[in-house]
Symmetry: C2
Subunit: 338 residues, 2 copies
């Protein structure tokens, strides 16, 4: 079923995705060869372009449709890629999207610097909009994301991580960027769109609705991702399951199960977490406990709540192609198996 | 003599330096503890605050004096610090400003992420000016600096590096930021200053003059730095001499000497460069060759040329306290022994 949903979404956005792809290639082409190589390795390895697409759709929802939004939207793929590059170095991840992580192919310093370059390039594109509010949003995204990563690093293997703290981690790590992409789409449309005849308060309402949609979609998306790290298999996911645990990252399925486990099981789980080293059998037993203590079920239900909330944020908008896609994306965020 | 010059400069700018120091502390205080710690380790370890100071002086030269320029100027210390943090990880440097480099005290990932945070924070401050041109300048600086670092990394231990290529490396690595600080001062003053009564063409002339001053000062400054790596001693410099060579960085004193050396000496020098490993005696012999083949002298003369050029860029400005300091800074850039 979710395969059908994916096909349906893709058929509706294929032109936009092609335009985004072209914009990315054109923007990256004049860079130093090595920068293009490292950035391209990640950028052109099957990313979903979810973030630029959301920015484009959000802009359309606010009446903008002059194709400028495509050129501008790649900011959000660059920001995403910059974060992934730095994260891979930080986490010493070996695989990303089914390929070797960039730093396993190039030296970590080169990867760090390419991340910096992509960050800077996204800023350059943002400055071309000449809309100070957009710059502010992007600056804030970057600040929050780096603080979130540092925080996550400081809490590595910390069995005391609460659900509330987890929510703050995934907000900064994932939701902030998706939220920023949606919000920027609205701001861009209101500052630049052709149909700029709405009142200020109406504009603010739309901006807030899209921002809230993005936040909830981002949370749902990350929770689904954290579930997949326990439930998916290596081939469909493009990376090894259990990666989060190996990197010392406690996610909701585990946090929820820990809170419900009896003393004996909890102690065993804590031992596995602290060790960060486990064999396939240990991992299977741990996953069984996540089911036994409803860690999986609880996370699925929370992810669904956020997907539903995301959709309800769009209530204020009239029916449109863009709205259809955004509704389907919220469903897909929690239904996907990869 | 250059000690006198330093004392004279410091006496003239001590109030501004204090204000910059306060602004840095206030801006950094609300951050996560670990971010403040890592960033503060570098930020408050005796940096010269040259870049924010130049921005403030440039703004004053263009008629701005409302203290806002102080809050804004710390952008350039943040950008500088972010670069140093990433560079230290990239170069695996052990010492910085006489202290352990940040990544020797904290893990490299945390240092990388703190660099990202400072980059983002400088952007947030820039966005508060609401002057799109400033954002553009800062984005361009970051882009150029990261590309420059990547390029330098790719040319490690490359004995074929030409003087022209070296000029491009130091332009991106050092001059671009100092130039950007000076130019932003002018843009900030023209956009925000109280005495904003000049004509556009006059404003452009001033902006260009300060931008050129900054470029030439930056080049002179970096050449002097590259000289010190061969001529200074460890205690006054706060890091070990020969560090550039150990990191595989060919600088002008060496490039110029290589171009003039006879075959036998050149082959010996190339051997030392390629090895990146040398004892104190080797380093002494190499330094002797830089003198013998006028590598030191040539670099000193080039640095002086740029310092003189920097000063001549200020010809269009009437006499003022700020101009006095900027003239002295150009002299100090090449006279300093640390």
């Amino acid at each position: 079923m979710n395969q059908d949903l994916k096909t349906k979404i893709l058929s509706k956005v294929k032109d936009d995705l092609l335009d985004i792809e072209t914009a990315l290639h054109e923007n990256l082409a004049p860079c130093l060869d090595i920068v293009s190589d490292i950035a391209g390795h990640l950028l052109f390895s099957g990313g979903k372009r979810l973030r630029p697409l959301l920015m484009v759709l959000s802009a359309r929802m606010c009446g903008c449709n002059n194709k400028n939004e495509i050129d501008f939207s790649i900011i959000f793929e660059y920001l995403h890629a910059a974060t992934l590059l730095h994260d891979d170095v930080v986490d010493e991840a070996e695989m990303r999207r089914g390929k070797k992580a960039a730093h396993a192919k190039w030296s970590a310093p080169k990867v760090v610097l390419t991340g910096d370059f992509l960050l800077a390039r996204s800023l350059t594109i943002a400055s071309m909009t000449r809309i100070p509010q957009i710059i502010k949003i992007i600056a804030k995204i970057t600040e929050e994301m780096s603080q979130g990563e540092i925080d996550q690093l400081a809490r590595k293997n910390d069995i005391a991580l609460t659900e509330e703290e987890y929510m703050d981690v995934i907000r900064r790590k994932t939701a902030v960027l998706i939220q920023g992409a949606c919000r920027s789409g609205a701001v861009f449309a209101h500052g630049r769109g052709k149909n700029n005849v709405l009142k200020d308060s109406e504009e603010k309402k739309r901006e807030k609705a899209l921002s809230d949609y993005g936040y909830n979609l981002g949370i749902a998306f990350q929770m689904a991702d954290d579930l997949l790290d326990y439930t998916a298999d290596a081939i469909t996911m493009g990376k090894n399951p259990g990666a989060d645990l190996r990197e010392g990252k406690l996610t909701l399925p585990l946090i929820a199960a820990l809170a419900r486990a009896d003393r004996k099981d909890r102690l065993w789980m804590e031992k596995i977490i602290k060790a960060s080293l486990f064999n396939e059998n240990d991992f299977k037993n741990l996953t069984d406990m996540l089911y036994k203590y409803s860690g999986i079920e609880y996370t699925e239900s929370k992810a669904n709540d956020h997907a539903i909330k995301a959709k309800s944020c769009l209530d204020i908008f009239e029916a449109s192609e863009s709205k259809d896609v955004m509704m389907m994306l919220a469903d897909y965020a929690v239904a996907r198996k990869v």
